[in-house]
């Protein structure tokens, strides 16, 4: 995979030590506790985690979407882009004013949300919604604008384009709506596309087609994609790099192959094992991660995953583990990788399953 060759890769987003909390009636919730994230042109970075792990809050910083009770405690998010005059510019998205953010939003950074029906305006035709961003950022009007709209719907694989442009969202099916949302996101040729669980609300058959579409668009336009999901199968399909997030921190990061074939963090082990396998014979019992995610209202001492971790060491309850490098593109934050730690291998059940996966030549039913 030539992606590891860092000299040819063009970094477009560099997040460092981002920390976000929320003031709530019950106290301060530390939702994101120091996240580092790098995104390169033409690559897909996935963030996986349970609900409440802070993955959505992290990427919403990139779009400047903040709620009224949100407090940015620190960190930076450098975004590198080429502006209209063809100049290379670097901005810090976290300290950007609303006015400057508006120039970037939709134009250089775009987002696709989970539910296509709520992200579309029910009172506007598809064409008007598509045209909104293009008119604002690129000042296209009349025939040129219409042609651009047709081109966009073609790009996302919608047939009978002229009729669809005149339809309203409720006249389209769920998969079709999500295609429209993706077309809107792509309308100004953004450098960075953020997909926040874009297929969670869709059926598996539709999901498969939307994922294919996102991959195809990426091949055509070389857009960088941040993909948020809790479905590991989806990650395997689209991601080049995977970040596993737990309780507001990234606990393991690496290429897809690293995470699926050589996971090191006990939480990643748990996630991978608790997914029932589609291919292999049914196991007697599914592996479960005991307990519930921590309450982020409380201060977390040591490793946040320690109370649920059957392999937890004593130090896990006292000191937060640093990131240990496995190789130059794979690291995990667990004390198990420390040289002084006892040698603990991944659970037998998971090891067998990974061996099966590697050996299987499953390419569907074709």
């Amino acid at each position: 995979m030539d992606a590891h060759n860092s000299s040819t890769r063009e970094r477009i987003l560099k997040m460092r030590d981002v920390r976000i909390s929320f003031n709530t009636a019950n106290g301060v919730v530390h939702a994101v506790r120091g996240v580092n994230l790098d995104v390169y042109r033409g690559e897909t970075v996935a963030i996986v985690g349970e609900s409440g792990s802070g993955k959505s809050v992290t990427v919403k910083q990139v779009m400047g979407i903040r709620s009224h009770n949100e407090v940015i405690e620190g960190g930076s998010a450098e975004f590198i882009y080429t502006d209209e005059k063809g100049e290379r510019r670097i901005v810090d998205l976290i300290s950007l004013s609303d006015g400057e953010m508006t120039k970037l939003k939709g134009n250089h950074i775009a987002m696709v949300f989970q539910d296509p029906l709520t992200s579309l305006d029910p009172t506007m035709t598809i064409e008007r919604q598509l045209a909104e961003g293009i008119t604002y950022h690129q000042h296209l009007v009349g025939k040129a604008l219409h042609e651009r709209c047709v081109e966009l719907l073609d790009l996302v694989g919608i047939t009978d384009v002229e009729a669809r442009l005149k339809s309203y969202p409720h006249q389209l099916s769920g998969g079709m709506r999500q295609r429209v949302v993706i077309a809107i996101a792509l309308s100004c040729n953004p450098e960075l596309l953020i997909c926040d669980e874009p297929t969670t609300a869709l059926d598996v058959t539709i999901q498969a087609r939307i994922l294919e579409l996102i991959l195809e668009i990426q091949r055509k336009t070389h857009v960088a994609v941040i993909f948020i999901t809790h479905n590991l199968g989806v990650v395997a399909k689209v991601a080049d790099y995977v970040n596993v997030m737990y309780a507001g921190k990234i606990v393991e990061a690496g290429t897809s192959e690293d995470i699926f074939f050589d996971p090191r963090h006990p939480y990643t082990w748990g996630l991978l094992s608790s997914m029932p396998s589609v291919l292999s014979k049914t196991e007697a019992r599914l592996y479960t991660i005991k307990g519930n995610p921590p309450n982020m209202l409380n201060e977390i001492v040591g490793d946040a995953f320690a109370p649920r971790n059957p392999f937890a060491l004593e130090i896990d309850f006292e000191k937060e583990p640093p990131c240990f490098d496995v190789n130059n593109h794979h690291w995990a934050a667990t004390w198990l990788l420390d040289g002084r730690a006892p040698k603990i291998e991944m659970p037998e059940q998971l090891r067998v399953r990974i061996a099966q996966l590697k050996g299987s030549e499953d390419i569907g039913y074709e």
Binding site: D203, R209, A236, V278
Partner: protein, 325 residues
């Protein structure tokens, strides 16, 4: 044509074989139509038949709008059915119910819903929510005994009895679903309908709840009608599954049979659409695409064909020969 369908189902070899054990639920030619404004009729469930044996888990899968939830609701009589017969534990429950049968039905069949927050009353303590069944069927049960029964079932689903006086908002999603499960189990039902009971939960919590459901089944011998769109979880929990599409059961059989040798093009597309956890093959794998209209398969023309004794598909004779080649 309907007759031919009924005949095949009734004489299906496996049904004959299993006569030593009567099915706990037997659905025959169930139809559920809804009238919508404009004089149109939506055929949500169109002539389906299936059996559930005591103590087994029957999975019903399909995409949204395929009629799987409608089937679940029809079976527990939340909706008036249009046609067909439903026999539950020896009672015919498809027509107007008399008092006696209603009582038996309400205590022996229960349901767990998809959204744990929406299915619990936020103003009621969970002890009262869980005891709903007891209050309805044993209104004169003394307080102590009621409490004991609730504590016992809470313990069984992995909740602590000290949480009994809390409100639903004080629980996490997984715990709320356990409350829903406890409410459904308190009457010791013979059949539990789980309508997308785990879809709203996180992956790690899903596994917990599914394992719990399996354990409870081993203990109490309850049968499950497990309705879901997540095929991998259905495969894990169910002994037999039926695949629904557009109101018809297009394929049914033992879970392993259906997953390892899917025959119907829709089932094949559905199974191939599940993303696999293997990045190196998954990136290049192209899932099968199935378009009911384009493929020209009309479900109403099809009759049930047996691939093996336990594995049936809905097809015309010509389609059957083509698919099983």
């Amino acid at each position: 044509m309907n007759d031919s369908k009924a005949a095949v189902t009734a004489d299906m070899p496996h049904t004959v074989k299993m006569t030593e054990k009567q099915p706990i639920l037997s659905v025959r030619n169930l139809k559920q139509y809804f009238k919508i404004p404009g004089g149109n009729v939506v055929k949500a469930v169109d002539d389906i038949s299936f059996d559930i044996m005591p103590g087994e888990t029957f999975g019903l899968v399909g995409e949204s709008g395929s009629g799987k939830s409608t089937t679940g609701r029809a079976v527990i009589r939340l909706d008036e059915i249009t046609a067909g017969s439903i026999t539950f534990d020896g009672d015919d429950i498809s027509g107007k119910l008399n008092c006696d049968v209603t009582g038996r039905l309400r205590s022996n069949m229960s349901m767990v819903f998809q959204d744990p927050m929406a299915s619990l009353n936020p103003y009621r303590k969970i002890i009262d929510t869980i005891a709903t069944g007891l209050d309805a069927h044993f209104p004169h049960m003394n307080k102590k005994e009621r409490e004991q029964r609730v504590y016992a079932i809470m313990d069984r689903v992995g909740l602590s009895s000290s949480q009994a006086n809390r409100y639903p908002s004080q629980f996490s999603g997984g715990q709320r679903q356990r409350v829903g499960l406890a409410r459904a189990l308190i009457m010791n039902p013979k059949l539990l309908i789980a309508d997308e009971a785990i879809s709203a939960l996180d992956v790690s919590i899903q596994a917990q709840v599914v394992n719990l459901m399996k354990d409870i089944q081993d203990e109490t011998g309850a049968a499950y009608l497990f309705i879901a769109h997540d095929l991998s979880m259905v495969r894990y929990i169910s002994k037999r599954i039926a695949v629904m599409h557009l109101g018809h059961i297009v394929e049914a059989g033992l879970t392993d049979e259906v997953f390892s040798h899917p025959v119907h093009p829709y089932t094949r597309a559905l199974i191939s659409a599940i993303p696999r956890c293997n990045p190196s093959t998954e990136r290049v794998r192209k899932p099968l695409v199935y378009d009911a209209e384009a493929s020209g398969i009309s479900y109403t023309e099809g009759t049930l064909h047996c691939v093996t004794e336990t594995h049936t598909i809905l097809a015309t004779q010509r389609q059957y020969e083509e698919w099983t080649k």
